[in-house]
């Protein structure tokens, strides 16, 4: 193992690349979980959908993955609306359901994830897909990175920062933050819960789909590729704090660093082991996240 590699900018850039995508996915999940307290286990699979859309549009119609992003967004928003209408609203409507909302939503999203994953396997087959786009190698200092990764990195960062600003400086963002803090209080001051839920749901889905579209340029595309992103997003939410979007950015980058450097030390087949390992360690030793706040685990 070449120790020099460890300290090169190479790994750092790779870590940023991975981290920015993770942060993007995490922000979406954070929105949904923060406002609705529903864990969208299907979240990573939305990225998978975005990836396949980009793939098919590029290989069948020659459309650049950047240009197919709006299509991914549209598709995911449509899916979000349908899911919200038929799966989420019924759970939140009946009083009895609401008590068990968390449990029921877990099962429902689990079912949804299975439907999406296996539906994708049926449509796309389980053969790994990929395509070449913008894969010229650029040099920044002594680090090398492909143009597609770099552009994905930039777009992801822009989006995450943009959403964070949106969160902070707009009325809707304020409503979302209020909702994450205290649902009852938010209702009392007149915030229309259902509308805000729908917005955060659609936004969350869209962000995941965009992330998928971006990674499709340089990652292998498989029907079951989504789950590691769900896990990563989850780790990030725990580390960065529920509802804390800036925290998601920071934690996303941290996870990117951990994973990239971890793989450099051990090997690519250890990627999953690393992520799950981090998840377990975090829940064991730092369940309140990096920044404290709402406690997740028992003492």
């Amino acid at each position: 193992m070449d120790l020099e590699v460890l300290f090169s900018g190479q790994l750092l850039i790779a870590a940023l690349s991975t981290g920015s995508i993770y942060a993007l996915v995490a922000v979406g999940l954070n929105l949904i979980y923060g406002t609705m307290r529903m864990l969208n286990i299907a979240h990573g699979d939305l990225a998978m959908i975005g990836a396949y859309i980009a793939f098919w549009m590029f290989t069948e119609a020659g459309i650049s993955p950047f240009l197919s992003l709006p299509v991914s967004i549209l598709a995911s928003v449509l899916l979000a609306i349908v899911t919200f209408q038929f799966l989420v609203k019924p759970v939140m409507r009946s009083a009895r359901m609401r008590d068990q909302a968390e449990a029921n939503s877990l099962l429902i999203f689990f079912g949804l994830a299975e439907i999406i994953r296996n539906g994708s396997a049926a449509i796309n087959t389980t053969n790994p897909r990929g395509y070449q786009y913008l894969d010229q190698v650029l040099h920044i200092g002594n680090a090398a990175i492909t143009a597609n990764r770099l552009s994905a990195l930039i777009i992801a960062l822009v989006l995450v920062i943009g959403i964070t600003l949106f969160f902070r400086f707009t009325t809707i963002g304020l409503a979302l933050r209020a909702l994450i803090q205290d649902r009852t209080a938010a209702q009392i001051v007149g915030i229309n819960l259902e509308r805000i839920f729908l917005i955060s749901f659609c936004l969350g889905f869209a962000l995941a789909a965009v992330a998928g579209g971006l990674v499709s340029m340089y990652e292998q595309i498989l029907p079951f590729m989504g789950f590691p992103y769900t896990i990563a997003a989850f780790v990030i939410i725990i580390l960065g704090g529920l509802g804390n979007l800036t925290g998601s950015l920071a934690a996303g980058m941290l996870l990117g660093v951990l994973e990239t450097f971890g793989i450099a030390l051990t090997g690519p087949s250890f990627r999953s082991i690393l992520i799950y390992g981090v998840l377990i360690l975090v829940l064991l030793f730092r369940p309140q996240g990096l920044f404290g706040g709402r406690r997740v685990a028992a003492r």
């Binding site: 449990a103 439907i115 998840l279």
Partner: protein, 312 residues
């Protein structure tokens, strides 16, 4: 409090037991296999209920015990008699449960769900890497016992799982678990040793799936990690329990029979659609009948009973 069996259910269960015992005498080899699989799901789903149905801690990674049991049998195949490997699988699964349960049970709700799923995937990848390191791309398990022996062994596990789930539900322990499900902090304040109870439920729910995994891999005579650590096993267990009724083992049995028969049909005719349809069914049932078919029936019974007393 929850008590014994009413006459109807009791009779039905005895009939079911008789069916299980007598099945191989008139069924074809294929049908004995169906029986084996159905009882396999029964043992798995009922074990899952002991933890997740009772405490509300949904384990989405329960396949890990199944897979580990399979692995233990595969690895000890040439060293131990088959039933020794199976017993060891149960022990191994229990030990894994202790190791995993301690950290996992400290978190609740969706965190627990993700964590258990993550642990299952983690163990899967570890086993894959170990096997790759040993240059094994799969293991053959030749010279195992007959189908009939395996059938009755699985029958023993299925019956044990039912008895366990039933006993837990009726016991003081089970009352404590249900209190934990309702409100864990209030339960602890009332004197329930929540941590110990959760761990116990977790370990109890792991042992039988471990042995089931062992029997499964013996029947297939082949061990391959992705096969035995398949998340769809967890999905199916959960779907059966939810559709049948995850509070009551009798309901779970209903769910098992329903989905097992449906699965046989789907696997034979539309294998690609299997998980899609199970996922769809799960969603529909959670929305329309969250207490499962059994819960629905019980609620209807209770309503008609209260209406009767109103009339009188």
């Amino acid at each position: 409090m929850i008590r014994g069996l009413d006459k109807i259910t009791g009779t039905l269960l005895v009939a079911l037991f008789a069916l299980i015992v007598l099945w191989p005498t008139f069924a074809s080899n294929y049908e004995i296999g169906v029986g084996f699989d159905t009882m396999r799901w029964g043992a798995l789903a009922l074990s899952w209920v002991v933890l997740s149905g009772m405490t509300g801690y949904f384990s989405f990674g329960h396949v890990v015990f199944f897979g580990l049991g399979a692995y233990i049998v595969a690895v000890t195949w040439l060293v131990l008699p088959w039933w020794g490997g199976v017993l060891l699988s149960g022990v191994g699964a229990g030990i894994l449960a202790i190791m995993v349960g301690y950290p996992c049970l400290r978190v609740r709700g969706p965190y627990f769900v993700i964590l258990t799923f993550g642990v299952a995937e983690l163990v899967k990848f570890i086993v894959i890497n170990i096997e790759a390191g040993l240059s094994m791309s799969g293991r053959m398990l030749l010279g195992g016992p007959s189908t009939i022996t395996l059938y009755y062994s699985m029958g023993v596990l299925a019956v044990l799982a039912f008895i366990l789930a039933f006993w837990v539900r009726q016991s003081r322990f089970g009352a404590g678990l249900r209190a934990i499900r309702e409100d864990e902090d209030a339960a602890e304040t009332l004197g329930i040793p929540v941590h110990r109870y959760k761990m116990t439920a977790f370990v109890l729910s792991a042992i039988i799936p471990g042995m089931v995994g062992g029997l499964f891999v013996i029947r297939g005579a082949f061990f391959e990690p992705p096969n035995v650590f398949d998340p769809r096993v967890s999905l199916t267990m959960i779907a059966m329990a939810v559709m049948g009724g995850s509070d009551d083992p009798r309901g779970t049995v209903v769910g098992v029979i329903f989905l097992a028969l449906l699965s046989q049909y789907l696997w034979a005719n539309f294998p690609q659609l299997y998980a899609i349809i199970v996922g769809l069914l799960l969603v529909i049932f959670v929305l329309a009948a969250p207490d499962g078919m059994w819960g629905r029936w019980q609620a209807a019974k209770r309503r008609s009973r209260s209406m009767q007393t109103q009339d009188s």
